[in-house]
């Protein structure tokens, strides 16, 4: 794996981490309603 590939990977994964967690929390909150 090249460093460039990993940079792109990180660039994508950083927002993805928050988005996945946010989706999980939103679903949990919605179900609880």
């Amino acid at each position: 794996m090249s460093i460039d590939f990993l940079r792109i990977f990180i660039f994508l994964l950083v927002p993805l981490a928050g988005i996945v967690a946010a989706i999980y929390l939103a679903v949990v909150l919605r179900r609880r309603r």
């Binding site: 090249s2 990977f9 981490a17 928050g18 967690a21 946010a22 999980y24 929390l25």
Partner: protein, 163 residues
């Protein structure tokens, strides 16, 4: 389970959940809810299990009805909380919305810092359980640190292979 059994079960749960209410109010509430269910079933023109489940689902959980009743003490003629105004749409406070915004939009515009602030807000909120907060934190930590570790591994690998 047939419709009548579902309704009986629901009313039983409502009665059990309504113990904090005054006895007369509890009786009134049960009558009101029973009447509401009956009229909704009559309106639907169908008395099968699916219709009954839909009617009961629209009413909301018995505990929610009792909580709303205890809070507002609404008089007779009360309408079920759903699909009415979102006053009991629990969960979506300022902290929760802020947490989700920082986790999503924040993660794009403030890499690393955004999700971290989001997680702090998640932990400050009382709407999620500790388990749910831990799962969300794990998701962020794993997805954030996995590529960093990979990057470190590749850097070390390329340095050692280069020398």
């Amino acid at each position: 389970m047939e419709a009548d059994a579902l309704v009986r079960d629901y009313l039983g749960r409502l009665e059990a959940a309504a113990w904090p209410l005054a006895a007369d109010r509890r009786g009134e509430l049960l009558v009101e809810v029973r009447e509401h269910i009956e009229s909704a079933l009559a309106e639907a023109g169908n008395r099968d299990e699916v219709t009954a489940r839909n009617v009961l689902e629209r009413l909301g959980a018995p505990e929610e009805i009792v909580a709303a009743e205890a809070e507002t003490g609404q008089p007779a003629g009360w309408m079920p909380p759903s699909p009415g105004p979102a006053d009991r749409r629990a969960g979506w406070g300022l902290i929760e919305v802020g947490a989700l915004l920082f986790l999503t939009v924040g993660a794009i515009f403030l890499p690393i810092v955004g999700p971290m602030v989001g997680l702090v807000l998640v932990w400050l909120s009382t709407e999620w359980t500790t388990r749910q907060k831990s799962i969300a934190t794990l998701i962020v930590v794993i997805l954030l640190f996995l590529p960093v570790l990979l990057l470190l591994g590749v850097s070390v690998g390329s340095t050692s292979s280069g020398s």
